[in-house]
């Protein structure tokens, strides 16, 4: 199994790389279009600022490549948010794979932002969550979120319900970090590898 991890200098990719390798995959960190197109699966990671990340994608024409990919793609954290149409973070135009707007968390009763730490996920859908128990805990770090919509694949609640995960055709996204979510996260990555 060859997995291309999209390289656009967006945060810590060591852990996701290591987790995939521990699960027996060959990984390549790359921005090369041919390498990405020929991989069995693609992981689109990301931590940081949406505006700067989109600029980095555009500078390598990855913004046009990613929406055309046919193999399973997993966007993690900011990667998932960038697959959406628009982000309120610096009013950034996203890749538009999911027609939804990424919104800033609005605390309702003094919730601290960023939403950081372990939270439970529920209403789990799609093969990504096969064998994962409802209300399993996974690790989140984010200040912006995707509301619950048509393509929500898992929900979480913090100030309000939001999409912990989204899925449409070959595109999957997790707002949480599966590579940081202990055995639950490894199970989810394993399910992605098996898709």
């Amino acid at each position: 199994m060859n997995i291309a991890i999209i390289d656009y200098k967006a945060g810590n990719i060591k852990s996701v790389e290591a987790a995939l390798q521990r699960l027996g995959c060959n990984t390549v960190l790359t921005k090369n279009h041919n390498e990405i197109l020929s991989a069995d699966k693609v992981v689109f990671p990301g931590v940081g600022n949406a505006g700067a990340a989109m600029e980095a994608l555009k500078s390598e024409s990855l913004d046009t490549l990613i929406p055309q990919l046919k193999q399973p793609v997993l966007g993690i954290c900011l990667g998932m948010q960038l697959m959406c149409a628009f982000s309120e973070e610096e009013n950034t135009q996203g890749l538009g794979i999911f027609d939804v707007t990424v919104k800033k968390f609005l605390p309702k009763s003094g919730e601290k932002i960023p939403h950081m730490g372990w939270n439970n996920v529920f209403n789990l859908k799609t093969p990504l969550y096969q064998g994962v128990d409802e209300n399993s805990f996974v690790y989140f770090v984010h200040s912006y979120m995707v509301p619950v919509f048509e393509f929500t694949a898992a929900e979480c609640s913090y100030a309000e319900k939001f999409s912990a995960s989204i899925a449409k055709n070959n595109f999957f996204g997790t707002q949480f970090h599966p590579e940081k979510s202990g055995n639950t996260g490894l199970k989810i990555l394993e399910n992605f590898i098996k898709l």
Binding site: A19, V47, P114, G117, F137
Partner: protein, 251 residues
């Protein structure tokens, strides 16, 4: 619901985990990567590795430790100790750290916190504050608690938050190593004035201290070292106890 976090802190010197009482009398507690793995299997929510040598020579060892931890663990971890510039922070990110913790360097140059937060995101920068109650005032100390500063805990914590820190790790030097409970009053006040998560450190000795720090101290996370390293409290037992006491923790 967001879970309260239990964090184990591993003080690292010459690639070995050590922990002293009130920052002195260091004692051996094992290999840092193996210890981290063992904690992860037991259900610890997060780890903090603190480089207490923080010399130039120790720096390379720390990079290699960070890389090994990132390769072997699938829970978040923070690296602290001796981070004094943005290049060092960036190196730690590249080697696989999820977060870094700055302490003395932030006091010396508060702009460092702003710069790291701006470049790598708030989530990447934890600011550690060691403070000691002196004549009714919480005085911030640096250099492993050796040097008092002219800063006061609450105003300093607020400044750090405004500069973009993602979390505050507050160690009460009056409580650290004594195992008589956390500095709950100061913690509750921190939690009240800040909008970022507060990690409580210093004073854990019994399971009830964790319940108190989450309820009375209103902390988002609690950190301990010796009581975990020497097996006085096992993580699964602690989690079970907290669930029974109605506190939401990861299971």
């Amino acid at each position: 619901m967001l879970a309260k976090r239990i964090i184990a802190c591993l003080d690292v010197k010459d690639n070995q985990t050590v922990k002293g009482v009130s920052f002195e009398n260091l004692r051996y507690a094992g290999d840092p990567v193996e210890l981290g793995k063992a904690y992860s299997e037991q259900g610890i929510d997060e780890l903090v590795y603190l480089d207490i040598t923080a010399t130039n020579e120790g720096r390379k060892q720390i990079y290699s430790l960070v890389e090994k931890v990132a390769q072997n663990l699938s829970i978040p971890f923070t690296i602290g100790g001796g981070i004094s510039d943005i290049r060092d922070a960036e190196n730690l990110l590249i080697y696989g750290a999820d977060k870094i913790s700055v302490n003395s360097a932030a006091v010396k140059n508060p702009q460092l916190v702003s710069d790291i937060a701006k470049k790598f995101g708030c989530q990447f920068v934890v600011t550690a504050i060691d403070a000691k109650m002196i004549d009714g005032k919480w005085i911030v100390h640096t250099h492993g608690g050796k040097r008092p500063t002219d800063k006061e805990l609450f105003s300093w914590a607020k400044e750090i938050e405004d500069r973009g820190a993602g979390e505050i790790l507050f160690t009460s030097m009056n409580h650290d190593g004594h195992q008589t409970g956390f500095a709950n009053e100061a913690l509750a006040k921190l939690s009240e004035i800040l909008t970022i998560p507060v990690i409580a450190s210093g004073g854990a000795g019994e399971m009830s201290h964790f319940k108190d720090v989450f309820t009375v101290g209103k902390a988002d996370a609690a950190l301990a070292a010796s009581i975990f390293h020497f097996g006085k409290i096992a993580i699964p037992d602690l989690k079970q106890y907290l669930v029974k006491e109605g506190i939401n923790v990861r299971r």
